[in-house]
């Protein structure tokens, strides 16, 4: 199905999300839609999929102008969208999710289940119609959504950042099915992404948006630099990585084990020097989270010992960890790191170590303003934290970290951030590293792990599979290591 978007315009208040964008998608091809966070990619695709209505402009499918009042109308016309976080009902069974909102009059449940498994088989997916959706991994939920859209008659498929949070194997399977859908079934595919490598690998053509405008269309493959130049006004060159300071042993783990109802971490022994970066790789729930949380004192050790700066720490817990200069940044920024409903100034007041009855508001406001300037946060001291974008929330979290930390522990430090924010964050971390702060982080992005770590530990099924110096491995190799361990 041929898709034309003609002069699409969409405004939220004073913010122009889409400024007269005109693009065209041909059947049988895979398109990339690139742009940094807030460039207007999602808005444009929500308009095409009927989730939002444009202020002006038209959608033309195979020459016929359309008006979509809802996602259902869009799907009926052949346009389906797979959202970044699959829009399904977690407590429903796979079959119930498949059937919800789909015309299946007179079809028996057994017939629907059979249709689902058959359709899944065509793309190499495995589904159990009676399993609860909440038990599935992110990748499997995505596959289910894809099948639902296909069964609903989608000829145009939009995938919004589909590789966030899924395993390397699931990614390969997804890409293979996308190729089949385009090449063999003649469907029109649109991949929304900010990962250049993925777009290069999969897509035939890429449209690039910047600040709500279409800035260009590029035949792929092409040099990465060309795309980067289009996406960003000007990007400071990434500074060379500072050499790791060969410091003393800061953290020494000996045969530590951690037990939770869901997973048990088998004995892990590790050493980390001051100024060193340790990256933890593995599928979600492989044990790396347990190790990180145990180091932060959030989970008790069920065995083994932890030494910090040569001192044994028999009663390690979170308050003690904080006292010893260990900081922890959780993956859920708004859930665990920041407090929705409080302003930036109030956050500053909360982390300050003042003890009086009254809060010195002018001072905290000034402090917040100061941090906003230094850390280039887009926001005001009076802004509520939940109104900031993900990148700015992360910047502010860094702003709140105390100086002179010994160890920083992070879950997915740059998840959902664009290249500019990602580089900025690692630049900050690099500065701290140079001062002797050690870093342990886990990430689903293997490129990030390969590029930013000194040492890499690979986890699988609660076991430390291997620990290798970063210089001796690549993201590809890590992917195979994780995938092969299944």
């Amino acid at each position: 199905m041929q898709v034309q978007l003609n002069t699409i315009h969409k405004q939220f208040g004073s913010l122009v999300a889409n400024d007269e964008i005109s693009v065209q998608f041909e059947p049988g091809r895979i398109y990339g839609l690139l742009g940094e966070n807030g460039a207007g990619k999602s808005t444009l695709m929500k308009i095409l999929s009927g989730y939002q209505q444009p202020d002006r402009g038209e959608i033309v499918l195979n020459g016929a102008a359309q008006h979509f009042a809802s996602p259902r109308q869009a799907l009926a016309a052949g346009v389906g969208m797979l959202y970044q976080e699959p829009l399904d009902v977690p407590v429903f069974t796979v079959l119930e999710n498949f059937l919800l909102g789909r015309a299946h009059d007179g079809e028996r449940p057994q017939q629907s289940a059979k249709a689902l498994t058959q359709l899944a088989g065509r793309y190499g997916f495995q589904v159990d119609p009676h399993e609860h959706t909440r038990e599935l991994s992110m990748g499997e939920r995505q596959q289910l959504e894809l099948l639902r859209l296909l069964a609903g008659g989608a000829e145009v498929l939009i995938l919004d950042e589909p590789t966030t949070g899924i395993s390397a194997e699931q990614k390969d399977l997804l890409f293979a099915s996308m190729r089949t859908l385009a090449r063999e079934e003649g469907k029109t595919l649109i991949l929304v992404s900010h990962k250049l490598d993925e777009v290069q690998e999969l897509c035939d053509y890429a449209y690039v948006l910047r600040k709500g405008r279409l800035v260009g269309g590029v035949q792929l493959p092409c040099p990465n630099q060309e795309l980067v130049d289009l996406m960003f006004d000007e990007l400071a060159p990434r500074p060379a990585r500072r050499q790791p300071a060969s410091g003393d042993v800061l953290l020494h783990l000996q045969h530590i084990t951690v037990r939770t109802p869901r997973l048990e971490l088998e004995p892990v022994s590790l050493q980390l020097q001051a100024g060193q970066v340790l990256g933890l790789a593995g599928l979600e729930g492989s044990g790396q989270e347990l190790l990180l949380r145990a180091c932060a004192g959030l989970l008790p050790l069920s065995g083994g010992s932890l030494r910090l700066g040569g001192q044994p720490q028999p009663d390690w817990d979170y308050p003690r960890a904080r006292q010893h200069g260990v900081a922890y940044l959780a993956a859920g920024r708004l859930e665990e790191g920041l407090i929705a409903g409080l302003t930036l100034t109030e956050h500053m007041a909360l982390v300050s170590n003042a003890h009086g009855l009254l809060v010195d508001w002018p001072q905290n406001r000034q402090l917040a303003a100061q941090h906003i300037a230094t850390y280039q946060v887009v926001g005001q001291p009076e802004s509520y934290i939940e109104n900031l974008s993900g990148g700015n929330q992360q910047r502010f979290l860094f702003a709140m970290l105390p100086q002179n930390l010994k160890l920083i522990l992070m879950e997915h430090p740059t998840r959902g951030l664009d290249i500019r924010s990602t580089d900025w964050i690692w630049e900050q971390l690099d500065q701290r590293r140079a001062q002797g702060t050690a870093i342990i982080f886990l990430s689903a992005d293997l490129d990030e792990i390969a590029a930013r770590s000194d040492q890499i530990a690979v986890f699988s099924g609660g076991r430390l599979l291997r620990s290798v110096p970063a210089a001796e491995t690549t993201a590809d190799e890590l992917g195979h290591l994780i995938g092969g361990a299944l």
Partner: protein
């Protein structure tokens, strides 16, 4: 105590529980769609009065039940309108309505206090009533009890077996997902909140026209809060909810018996028994204790057992759907 007496007690427990079962089914439907109607206590009182007054004035039981259903539906409509249209807090609206219904029923009911009035006649079902043990308990009752029992089955079937039920639950669990699949979330929430409210109204009339005939100030006071608690106890399932309502009725009956045997213990102590028992059951079936229990169950039984034991509130209960 011989078996005839025991059977009579069971029959009376079922009758006493019938209005509670109806109210629990109504609230379960509403909450499954995502609307929490906290006005139950007030709307039960006002609909009990409306049902009694209407039946008394017109001489028609049917009109009495219809009037009560209308009162319950209007209360639910206010909750739905306030939260879905005006975007106010459902809990706050419901709470205020609960108090309003209480006071309003006391005020409007002054002229109806302790009047003799119509009541639902017994209706023994031929053949079925002669089944030993079950016959006298289940089938020598009246229309209200039969309606309550059928309602439980019908509600379960509707929620978990029909397409409309699937859409209802999706609106309460993840309205965004329901919206993208073409479910008219707001419309459904209105419909099911009002339907649930109407059932609560019928439950009110079931008190004043059948189980606790007549009207006096505070006639059903407290029963609405009990129904709300039983919805939670029932894990938002009509089957478990009905079971909870009967269990509640049974422990109340037990408390009465015990009180007779131990007159030195204060009555309030026995009144607490149903609640203690409910908390105990909740602790036993949910959380950490259920997991090892499930692990030991035969594999074939595990899935249905888990469905019965583990319950979580609808994920989007009380939350609005963001318009875009």
């Amino acid at each position: 105590m011989d078996s005839t007496q025991l059977i009579a007690i069971f029959g009376s427990i079922l009758l006493q529980s019938a209005p509670l079962i109806i109210a629990v089914c109504g609230e379960t439907i509403s909450e499954r769609a995502g609307v929490i109607n906290l006005s139950l206590d007030g709307s039960l009182l006002l609909s009990a009065l409306a049902g009694f007054a209407a039946a008394l004035l017109t001489g028609s039981l049917l009109l009495g039940f219809l009037a009560a259903a209308a009162v319950g539906a209007v209360f639910a409509l206010i909750v739905a309108f306030g939260s879905l249209h005006l975007r106010q807090n459902q809990v706050a609206i419901g709470f205020v309505l609960a108090m309003l219904g209480d006071s309003l029923s006391a005020f409007l009911g002054q002229n109806y206090t302790r009047l003799p009035g119509p009541s639902v006649p017994a209706w023994h079902i031929p053949l079925l009533k002669d089944i030993p043990v079950l016959g006298p308990i289940l089938f020598r009752q009246d229309a209200v009890v039969y309606f309550a029992l059928l309602l439980v089955g019908a509600t379960w079937w509707f929620l978990f077996r029909t397409r409309a039920g699937l859409e209802l639950r999706s609106a309460g669990e993840r309205p965004e997902a329901a919206f993208t699949r073409g479910v008219a979330v707001r419309k459904l929430r209105y419909i099911y909140a009002v339907l649930g409210g109407a059932l609560v109204g019928i439950a009110g009339a079931a008190y004043s026209l059948d189980v606790k005939i007549g009207w006096a100030e505070g006639h059903t006071r407290g029963m609405g809060w009990i129904a709300l608690a039983i919805v939670i106890f029932g894990g938002w399932s009509p089957l478990r909810g009905a079971l909870g309502a009967v269990l509640f009725g049974a422990t109340k009956a037990l408390a009465t018996v015990l009180q007779r045997s131990f007159p030195q213990v204060a009555l309030v102590a026995f009144n607490a028994v149903p609640w203690l028992l409910m908390i105990l059951v909740l602790v036993l079936v949910s959380g950490r204790l259920a997991a090892p229990l499930l692990a030991r169950a035969p594999a074939a039984l595990r899935r249905p057992l888990r469905g019965l034991l583990q319950a979580a509130p609808p994920a989007a209960l009380g939350q609005p759907l963001d318009d875009n």
